[in-house]
Structures are given as C-alpha cells and as structure tokens.
C-alpha cells in the first residue's frame, strides 16, 4: 500500500505522553483567563466560608451599641450595621448560607433533573410524553411562584429553603438531560458502539455519560448562582432564613434602608454577592468553551 509518513504532525517519538480527555478539557478551560481567575476566586470563597466563622472575633448575633453604623475601620473591616454587628462577619455567614443553598439546591436539581430527564429520554413513548408535559408546566411557571408558596408551607430554615429551591428549578435540567439522551441516542458513535456489541448499560456508562457531563456541568454552574439569587431574593422580601441568621438578600434589604446615610451597609453585601455570582457565571462560560467540540486545540 502506498502511504507516506512525511506529513505526520510534529510528533516524532513513538511513545508520546498518555493524554486523558480531562487534560484536554483543562487545557481548553485554561485559555479562558476570566474563568480560571473565577475558579480560584470560588475556591477562595469556599475556604473563607469554612474558616471565616472559626477565626472571626465576632458572631452574627453580637450586638454592640457602642459601635453603631461604623464605616470600615481597623476593628471592623467592613464597618458595622444598625445593631453594631460586624458587617464582615455577617457577610461571611451570608456567604456560607448562599454557598450551602447554591450547592445544595444545585445537587437536588441535578438529581431530580437527571432522573426525570434520563427516564423520559431513554424510555420514550407514553412515559416521555407524560413526564414532559409535567416538565412543561414546571417550566412555564416562574419557579419563584411555587418557591414562595413552598417556603410559606415548609417553613424558613436553611434546609427547607434549599429544598424548596431545588424542588422548583429542575425543569430546565430535566429538559436538557432528556435532549442530551435523545441526541446521544441517535449519534453515529452510539450506533457504532451497538454494532461493536456494547450492552445498553455499557453504552450509557462508557459513551453517553462522558459525553453528557459537559452540558450538565455548564448548566449546573449557571444554576448554582441562580439558586443563590433565589435564596437572597426570598430574604430580600422577608421570606428567607429567619433572622438573626444573616442572608445576603436580607442584608441588602436592611442596608438599603440606611443607604442615604450609610451606603457601606448595602454596598458591601451587594458587592460581595455580585462578585460571587459573576465568578460562577465566568466559570460556566469557561466550561462551555472547554466542552465545545468546535474548539480546536
């Protein structure tokens, strides 16, 4: 057979380094500098949320009537609020709660979404039809409505809020997973796998899941801040976690009342919130780039 090896790429040695799919993804992700910075920032936030409460000299219930409305200073890095509480401590606790709700609700959402989406997509037919009509209803409703009702019913603890948000926001994920299952089901390489003699379970585990992680991860990275916003939104209108437990939404609502005289009381929580959400968004953006098959290396 005629074959010419001249134009083989730059690889000259036969044993080139083993490369995994993950390393390729990471290589593409790294190209998006905002995403990398944001990822480090999120890791930093998680560390702060865990370590912060342990090292802070203040507690979120500690009132100090000798130090009301203080602007940032050496003792109180971000100042104090109308009860003389240390704003930085409040924000750290708010951060902790936001992260718990964000990741927790995200987990609930992914779990329900994958379950329903995969069942609908894989079984198809009448099951798919009924499940998807249900998803349609959930999707057509702003999740905020049901959320509000659920919180009224379940109560206002961190866990119930997390649950309520998770229970009301999985519709998009279910649609996405179903779509993924349907596309992957008719992809040529899945047909090829069938032709090679792979069983259904093998097909799902070895080919469908590795190639569906991308869109799910991307969706999740956008849904975590979504859950955080929902939590804060509920707090903002007075339906979030019970005071005195701080929440960013509650801090913003409270701070905005004093905005004219003490803007730091609202700007710090709002700023921290905005940065956190943007970080997640940028990571999501980076993930989307990394998983985009059109991206070349």
């Amino acid at each position: 057979m005629v074959e010419n090896y001249n134009d083989v790429k730059t690889v000259n040695t036969f044993e080139i380094k083993e490369r995994s799919y993950f390393s390729i993804l990471w290589g593409r992700f790294k190209k998006n500098k905002m995403a990398v910075i944001s990822l480090y920032f999120i890791i930093f936030l998680i560390v702060v949320a865990i370590v912060g409460p342990l090292v802070s000299p203040y507690h979120y219930t500690m009132m100090d009537y000798t130090a009301l409305y203080q602007t940032p200073n050496a003792k109180h890095w971000m100042g104090t609020d109308d009860g003389g509480r240390d704003l930085a401590t409040l924000i750290i606790y708010g951060l902790r709660n936001a992260l718990i709700v964000g990741f927790g609700a995200g987990l609930v959402e992914v779990f329900i979404g994958i379950l329903i989406g995969a069942i609908a997509g894989y079984l198809g037919g009448q099951v798919d039809n009924i499940l998807m009509r249900f998803v349609d209803i959930m999707f057509a409703l702003p999740s905020f409505l049901l959320n509000l009702v659920l919180v009224v019913v379940l109560g206002r603890s961190l866990f119930t809020i997390l649950l309520a948000i998770g229970l009301t926001s999985w519709a998009g994920m279910a649609r996405l997973v179903r779509g993924q299952v349907l596309t992957v089901k008719q992809l040529e390489y899945i047909e090829a796998a069938k032709a090679l003699g792979a069983s259904n379970l093998t097909i799902i585990l070895r080919y469908v899941i590795p190639n569906s992680v991308g869109p799910i991860a991307v969706a999740l990275s956008f849904n975590i801040p979504g859950a955080m916003m929902m939590e804060s939104g509920l707090s903002l209108i007075g339906l979030g976690v019970m005071p005195p437990m701080p929440s960013w939404g509650g801090l913003i609502a409270q701070g905005s009342r004093w905005m004219l005289s003490y803007p730091h009381m609202v700007l710090f929580p709002a700023g921290a919130f905005a940065l956190t959400i943007l970080a997640f968004t940028f990571v999501g953006d980076g993930l989307r780039d990394a998983f985009d098959p059109k991206q070349s290396d």
Binding site: D136, A140, P142, V149, L150, L236, G238, I252, A253, A274
Partner: protein, 319 residues
Amino acid sequence: MLKYVVKRIGFIIIALFFVSLITFILIKSAPGNYVETERLLSQNVTDVTVPPEVKAAWEKAYHLDKPAWQQFLIFIANAARFEFGPSFQYPSTTIEKIIMRTFPISFRLAVMAIGLALIIGIPLGIIAAFKKDTIVDRIAILLSMIGTSLPNYVMAVFLIYILALELHLVPSIGWGEPKHYVLPVLSLAIGPIGSITRYMRASLVETLNREYIRVAWAKGGGFREVVLKHALRNSLIPLITVVGPQLAYLTVGTVFVENLFNIPGLGKFYATAAIYRDYPMVMGTTVFFATIVMLTNFIVDIIYGILDPRIRKRSMMEG
C-alpha cells in the same frame, strides 16, 4: 394553525388546573391554617378572643366550613370568572380588586423595561455582531454577561448609589411622578438588555454566515438590502421567542424591585401576603401570575408562527 391553537389552550387550562391544585394542596397542608388566628395575625392583632358566631361567619365567608374538595371546586369555579373573594388582610375588599388596582403598576414597569431593553439591546447586538472579535464586541459581551447574571435587586442597589446618591440625577425613593420610574425600570431592564444584546449578536453573526446571505451579497445587494432586508428579518423573527418569556418573568420579577423601592405593585402585595400568611391572597395571586405567564408565552408562540412562513404554511397543511 387552529388545531395548534386549540391544543395550546387545552394545555394552558390543564396546566392552570394543576398549578391551582398543587398550590391548594400545599396551602391546605401549611401549618396553623385556622381562620381566626390567620386573619388576626394578618391584621397584626393577636390578643383578642373571637366569639364563636363571628368565627363561624368568617369561616363561611372563606368557605372554610365545607370539605376541602368542595373548597377547591369553589375556588376553581370562581377563579375561572376572575373572582377570588376577600383576603385575610383586607376583608372589606376582594382580591380581584386588589389585583386590578396593583397589577397595572407591575405590568407597566415590566413593559417599560422590555421596551427599553429592545431599544438598547437590538442596536447594541447589531453593532457587536458587526464588530465581531474586536474590543467593542468583547466589551458588549462582557457587559451583557454581567447584565444577565446579576439579579435586578443588586442592579438596583448599584444604580441607586451611582445615579441617585453620587450623581443626584434621580430621586432614590418616592412614588407617583414619572421620574420615580427611572431607577426601577432601569434595574429591571438591565437583565433583558443583556439577553437581547447577546441574542441579537449571536443570531446575527449566525445569519450573516448563512449561505443565503452570501447569495444576497453576490446578487449585488448593499447593507440596506442584505443586512436590513434579509439578515435582520431572519434574526428578528425568533427574537420574540426571547422577549416573550422575558416579559412574562419580568411581571413576576418586579416583586424584588417593588419591595426595594416601595412601589405599590402586585408584587409588593404578593410578598406581604406571603409573609403574613394571607392564604386566599397567595392562592389567588399565584394562579393569576401563572395565567399571565402562560398567556404571554402562548401569544408569543402564535405571533412567531404567523411570522415564520415555514411554521405558518406547514401547520396550515397539517391542520
């Protein structure tokens, strides 16, 4: 087309039935669902004992003397006629009257925000698409990303600080004059501006790469003929599928902004009702909001079907 419309309306009715049912069941299972405590609580009076005959009268007024399934049927039947009865907080008026009084305020905010978003978002998206991969484009993408990801109440905080407190351009509080609309509408609009810009850019970039656009250039068209007549048309038609849901979500999304700016819209009343466990009000408003959202999406889909010949002609052939 007719078949499709009937089908969609059927879906909306079924969906609304389920929404009502779920809300009803949830609220029935809520803790402390007793008319006297709830009604007193919602009016901020707690230390009064209610005589039995008054209690019975109240229960009758809210149909609480009947079994649950009857209550539900009564609710559904009344809701279909847009009658929700009195609320706990405001026994002297009806919920539909409150909705009629307050919803237009929320709706006006939402429509103004969407209008503003279209006026700013469409040209911004077009510019970004034309300056693709330049610094202008990158800034537009970054701004729209920030705009779409931040919630409107955080936007509101920053806008108040910059426009009201630092620059003294507009008042930060108050309600009743046109200038009081500026900050709420801006905070509501920034999200939709972001998504419309992003959508327009992506859609136009894609359309401009289409073969039929190259054909139009090859036919000797200029900017007006090719971009405005061929490309923009095909990008604007699907835009309404983006704007429709935005409008629907915004009508509900005003809740936060109304709370922050103390605007007497339906969202504000809705939130207060939830805090004070004014169950009839929560029930009625939830179903009302759900109806509005579904109707908006329905109308958008119909308009889309009319504008796109492929859908219009195909559905005509099938139906």
